[in-house]
Amino acid sequence: MITGFAESQDAFAAALLHADQPLPPGITTARGMADAARFAVYRNNVFVGLTGALAQRFVVTEQLVGTDFFAGMARAYAQDHKPRSPLIIDYGDDFPDFVAAFPPAGGLPYLPDLARIEVAWTQAYHAADAVPLDLAALAEVSPEILPDLRLVAHPSVRLIRSDFPVGSIWNAHQQDEVMPVSDWYGQAVLVLRPHMDVDVCILPPQDAVFAAFLLNGASLGEAAQAAFAAAPEFDFGAALLGLVNLGAFCAFHPDKGSNP
């Protein structure tokens, strides 16, 4: 007995998402009885659609683990993680966290950070457009205000700091023949889209702290001091010019404190 529209949709949704549940009450066929194969079309559409969306977004992740493993992992994610909005372009933003906590993938400790590059890729692709900061503007800043300067991150910028060479691993999968990555060291990977194309860049190791501080809203002085403390060989000028040149920022302002 169906009590109302909302209750009937609740029952439909519950049966849709859990294959072990009985068919929802009230559905039927021209033969006058419910048919499991017909309801299964809806179940199938939901899960094939969601896992397919993940496979389209996490291309390298899928290559690394193989299609069968990926399908199982994506299915497990989709079971408990439905899109929060109809914007499928955002689906899987927290898939890397799921991968990190997914025991069967535990033997591949670099996999979550690799997946984070792929999250950042799509986010950068769809991020707001902005004109990157011009080097010339930076050249005109007077030395005494330099330490207090705060840079505004380009809307597309994402930084992935990993204990693993995830930039090199990602790069190896952009070729038809995937070659092993033999130089095994932690990498900071900057993903951004200053213009039409998404760029992926492995930062010099000593610049990772500096980039992370700046992108979190720290002033140049704060970021430089943190970077020097982490790596004495840090070269402030080279790092700042390098990041600006990549298009990582779109403005700067000389505020003190509060305004990130």
Partner: protein, 95 residues
């Protein structure tokens, strides 16, 4: 570091960097080896086919992956990813 010293240090470092600005552009990965002046390693992705997933208003006759047939062992390119054999080695955790 006191603030005025910091300002001078940063300004000096920046001036030096500007003087060698011709080297500041990122290099493609294959040109990186042995070149200390470039900034970072620029990786070339497949930009043309990477809009990510789109919506669909279609159904599908492709069958949903059956979880019970699933072998929980990664079997893609990860098996050949690192020749040195340490951090990335495939060692599936038990339970």
């Amino acid at each position: 570091m006191i603030r005025s010293t910091l300002a001078l240090t940063l300004a000096g470092s920046l001036a030096t960097a500007f003087a060698s600005v011709a080297f500041a552009a990122p290099l493609p990965a294959e040109k990186m080896v042995g070149n200390e002046k470039c900034y970072g390693i620029a990786l070339k992705g497949k930009n043309d086919c990477a809009a990510g997933a789109g919506t669909t208003c279609a159904g599908t006759s492709t069958m949903d992956y059956q979880g019970n047939a699933w072998k929980a062992v990664p079997a893609g390119t990860c098996t050949s990813m690192n020749v040195n054999g340490h951090m990335g080695m495939l060692t599936p955790k038990k339970g």
